[in-house]
Assembly symmetry: C2
Homo-oligomer: 336 residues x 2
């Protein structure tokens, strides 16, 4: 089977093969997650559970589990690490929603709206600390190194994004730096630790890192494109959130770069927050379509998706490999 | 020399002996701190540096260094860990100021006032992640275990405190749980890791843990008492902050428990936030003095200080031991 995105045309790609592949491992990871969310302070499991039980795909820990399968690892050492990955992700989401002032995530009211910003900040800190306890228990200094480094890179990416808000002149390169850090670093680390757990060498570590990193970039590109498509039900967040927050994402960067004087003036006004209501959002959607900025954002996503798939080339064919390829196809096809 | 707090009467205790003892090590720790605060995102060193360079005593990393000296350890393995301890502490302060909406710390405007809450949350996350990178580099899974556990306990304590705000019926026991977690856990861990670095056994670990924990409780009790004394210049934060935020600390808990009907009504109103202006704060100060609640908070601090000193009993006399005893005396004498 030639592994390319052209398979897309024939089938409707899905995460189901990966979900089935790791179902047993994921049940064990879920037990760890539920167990380690516990605390004598009732607010902690209540708030954390709202998000953790709230319909997330658990894509990141699933990647750790699938990666281990790809390498033929059949043990359980990675269960604690996969739970740690999900805790890092959840802590990040809690803090993100505070930073962005979001009120909706995965179709539900955000924790900061229900319990307030202070509780979201502190429970995020708790989950983050717990994730490190889990990693320590996992017992691998190498995995700890990879995940603690990813955590620092994520935080750096978030600060970078914060300082990039309302910067109309951001440019694609810095945008890619930001999403590479805030999103792709954890995807990469989640995959890479599978090679550590399976006691493989640097080549396998790098291949899995590259798979995760490129998948993460593709994933974020599609998320950012969907924010400018009319039907945003797939995201479970408010369409136009990025627009209203003045967040510079690739659709805007491309539309601004390609626009004439009038269009550039519109984007400057909108991104600055001076004119960013519903009417302007409708106009923004029209402009990103007209300039093919959304189509090309999806095209970029397919490019990175292909890089992710190519990273797996050296691994022999297996159900695990097929599921990882299809996960990429699913990620880039979410828009259609 | 009999090590008791009665030495207080004769001398004016100071941190200087400890500062002198570890000066060379602390210079190395400071180099690590400055080096690891760096980032390509300029906001990170700018914001972190505001707090880290901002006149803190670096008491917690100093305790790691002094503890190592107490055990005769002359290496450098603890420098990275001591820097990690300071990063955890700084991250906590950044998030605390967001949670409390504070505007003054160590006599300076807080980072959240200057750069906003989002930046403080994210740079706190960055420092927290960096602290784990430093610990991993330190290479000791046992030290990682102690510090990651302390981090989770701190976050739990902060959430516990948040849910205790404006709870007039809090009680001394739960208050002690809160400060034991949010403050004393990091003091305990900072001291305990010295025994790990010096390759000592459980007895030394526990003795140093107990020293740090009791010192931390004493330290927080004095901080909480000072908030109800008229001259709060020593704290560098606004006197009456705890009062205005409805934070239940021991002076209030004792004054409420000892008060008659009228006084209890006053405290209920004040803690609920209905009447908590300058006039009420003046009345609160009068009431905590009248009921000896502040005096007895200081007395509790001396009790825990004595426990800290007694934890060192088994260690032979040395300049390190003397400096650690005097640090306790300094902590409990700050009010006088």
């Amino acid at each position: 089977m030639s592994a390319t995105l052209h398979r897309l045309a024939g089938t409707s790609p899905s995460l189901d093969p990966m979900i089935d592949l790791v179902a047993e491992d994921m049940a064990a990871v879920n037990r760890v997650i539920v167990d380690r969310m516990r605390s004598e302070i009732p607010l902690i499991p209540e708030l954390a559970g709202h998000l953790i039980a709230g319909g997330g795909k658990r894509l990141r820990p699933m990647l750790t589990l699938a990666g281990a399968r790809l390498l033929g690892y059949g043990g359980t050492r990675h269960h604690l690490l996969a739970a740690a990955v999900e805790f890092i992700h959840t802590a990040t989401l809690l803090h993100d929603d505070v930073v962005d002032g979001s009120d909706l995530r995965r179709g539900k009211r955000t924790a900061n709206i229900i319990w307030g910003n202070p509780a979201s900040v502190l429970v995020g800190d708790f989950l983050f600390s717990r994730s490190f306890e889990l990693m320590v228990e996992g017992g691998s200094l190498r995995a700890l190194e990879i995940l603690s480094n990813a955590s620092a890179v994520i935080a750096e990416g978030e600060v970078n994004q914060l300082t990039a808000v309302r910067r109309i002149d951001l440019g694609e390169e810095r945008y890619l730096d930001i999403i590479g850090a805030k999103t792709a670093a954890l995807f990469a680390a989640a995959c890479r630790i599978a090679a550590v757990v399976a006691d493989r060498g640097e080549a396998e570590e790098l291949a899995l890192d590259s798979y995760g990193r490129n998948l993460g970039i593709a994933f974020q590109l599609v998320d950012d494109a969907i924010d400018y498509t009319s039907d945003s039900g797939t995201m479970g967040k408010d369409a136009g959130d990025d627009f209203r927050e003045g967040k510079m994402t690739l659709p805007v960067i491309l539309a601004y770069a390609r626009g004439g004087e009038d269009e550039r003036a519109f984007w400057r006004d909108a991104v600055s927050g001076r004119r960013a209501g519903d009417e302007e959002f409708a106009q923004a959607v029209a402009l990103v379509r007209q300039s093919r900025a959304v189509d090309d954002t999806f095209a970029r996503a397919r490019h990175y998706g292909q890089l992710a798939i190519d990273s797996l080339a050296a691994f022999p064919g297996s159900a695990a490999k097929d599921s990882m390829i299809e996960a990429v196809e699913f990620a880039v096809a979410r828009a259609y």
